[in-house]
Structure formats: C-alpha cells, structure tokens
C-alpha cells in the first residue's frame, strides 16, 4: 500500500503532509508509555516491519501485506501506535525506497494514522456500547476493528490516487474500489493476526494489555489481572 514518488499531485501531497505532521505533533505530546510498554513498542515496531516483508497472494495475481496498525494501536494506544508505524514507514522510505518521500505524508496518513486510530475508535465505541464480557465478543471486536482499519486505510490511499489525475490516470471511481476490494482481503488476515497476537498477550501477559489506553478499559481484563495477581 506504499505509494511511490510520482503518483500524487501537489494538491494531495501538501494536505496529507499537513495532516500527518499534526498527528505526529499530537501523538508526541499525548503519548504515555509505562515501563512495560517501552520494550513492547520496540518489539511491535520490529515485528510489524518484519510482517510487512511478507506479501500474501490475494486476487487477480496481486499481493498485499499486513499493516500492523490495529495491533500496535490497540496494545500501545493510538498515539504510541502512530509513532511506531511512522518509524517503520520513515525507515522503509529512506533506507529501501519503499514508499516515496513525496508520498510519505500520504503513506503515514493511511497506515500510521487511519490504520491505527480507526481500529482504536471502533474498539472503544464497541466496548462502551456492548460492555465486552466474553473472549468471543472481545476477539470479534478486535477482528472487526482491524478489518475496518485496513479497509479505510486502503480507501484513503485509493482516494489520494484518484484525486491525483492526471499523474495517476484512474479517477476516484476506479482507484477507490480497486484498493478497497483487494485490501479488504488482507483486512481479514490483519483481523486474524491481530486476534492471535492480542489473544496470546491476553492469556500470557495481561499485565501489558492492562496498561493500554484502549484494551486497558476492558472490565474483563481488569478482572483477569486482579485474579492472576
């Protein structure tokens, strides 16, 4: 989903950079990390950089990779999540040319802002409405949050490309559905991986999740941590 140099017009590059810089500033100002979360941020940054190296075949001979934003955001919170995914994207662009420098604002907006904040918001709203009490409901909510994080990130990328005619010749009517349909498949994989990762931490390291500004709001997690203490 990394947009390279040469595909976006200035009218898309400038606003996406502005939005990204605003989110970076807010994230740096608002981020709070506990002692346990500091090494976890290093670990999740490395883990999802590595996960992005795997390209899964989807449809029509195309491939896609995981984004990781949902898992990182739900575990560390959206502000640390935004910073963590941004570290991955900045290093990928500068070291490997994976994603263009002129498209860095758009790529961070799609994967580091939308891909992180959307799953966190969906999870918080669902938890508030449903008062999640069972692991089935928890995992279903995590899956849906991750799926829509990927889907909206892809729709955002499609919109940026669709608005960049004539550089990227397809308009919104082609770019958005193409990105959305293909990336909804990787959204399913993102949902499954996010459920497996958080499910494992829920079982083995609930103390790490308890510090999360998102998952830490789960009443069932507080009960589990209190019970295992």
């Amino acid at each position: 989903m990394h947009i390279p140099d040469g595909f976006l017009t200035l009218s898309v590059i400038i606003p996406t950079f502005i939005i990204t810089i605003v989110f970076w500033a807010i994230s740096i100002k608002k981020v709070k990390l506990s002692e346990q979360q500091i090494p976890m941020m290093g670990l999740l940054t490395a883990l999802f950089f590595a996960a992005m190296m795997m390209n899964y075949p989807i449809i029509g001979g195309t491939t896609a990779h995981l984004l990781g934003g949902a898992a990182i955001g739900l575990i560390l919170g959206p502000f640390a999540g935004c910073i963590s995914v941004s570290i991955i994207l900045v290093l990928q662009a500068f070291l490997f040319g994976d994603g263009g420098l002129t498209a860095l604002g758009a790529n961070v907006l799609n994967m580091g802002v939308i891909g992180v904040f959307v799953p966190c918001i969906i999870f918080l709203v669902a938890n508030k409405a449903l008062k999640i009490k069972t692991t089935t409901a928890l995992f279903a909510t995590i899956f849906i949050s991750a799926f829509f994080g990927d889907l909206l990130a892809a729709i955002s990328a499609g919109t940026e490309l669709g608005l960049s005619t004539p550089l990227f010749g397809y308009g919104l009517s082609v770019a958005v559905p193409a990105m959305a349909i293909n990336h909804s498949i990787i959204g399913v994989a993102e949902g499954i991986v996010t459920v497996i990762l958080i499910g494992t931490l829920f079982k083995l390291r609930p103390d790490v999740l308890e510090k999360s500004p998102i998952l830490g709001k789960l009443a069932m997690l507080k009960d589990k941590v209190t019970g295992s203490a």
Partner: protein
C-alpha cells in the same frame, strides 16, 4: 527490565525473524494492486531520492542470502529505534 519482559522480547524477536525468513523464501513476490493499476496506466515512479538499499537489496548481494541478512539486520535496527524512541518518550512523561 523484568524477566517476564525479557522472555516476551526473545519470543517476539524470534517470531519477527521467522516472518523475515518466510518473507524472503515463501512470500517474496510482490505485485500490489497499486503496481497493477500503475502498470495498466503506464504510470512510472519518479523517485526524488536514491535510497542506500533500494528494494531491500544489498548492492552486490542480490540473492536470498543477502535479503535474509538485510531483513534480520533491519528488523533488529527497527527494534533498537522503536525501543529508543519509546524510552525518550517514556522519560519525557516521567
């Protein structure tokens, strides 16, 4: 750092390295929707910068061994950078 955290880090980094191995040997072929659409249009990338390791390849080592070495090294680098940034941000608040 607690023993629990150390164990989690060791397991996590091991899983990350397994991802790199799978990425190099099993899931290396990349043809994203964006690439396909760009190809259909004849749209060309116009890089504004020459990265030191273009397309995850060490210059002169364009093989799976080079990709594996680069993947593992980069994963460890990302861990160090992520940890370092988290440490700075964590201190800022304390």
């Amino acid at each position: 750092m607690t023993t629990k955290n150390q164990k989690t880090l060791i397991v996590g980094i091991t899983v990350a390295i397994i991802f790199v191995i799978l990425g190099v040997f099993c899931f290396s072929y990349a043809m994203e929707t964006l690439d396909v659409k760009a190809e259909e249009l004849g749209a060309q990338e116009q890089p504004v910068y020459e990265p030191p390791l273009p397309d995850y390849v060490i210059p002169g080592m364009d093989n799976e061994g080079g990709a594996l070495l680069l993947g593992v090294t980069s994963t460890l680098l990302l861990f160090v950078v992520g940890f370092g940034v988290a440490k700075i941000l964590g201190k800022k608040k304390s």
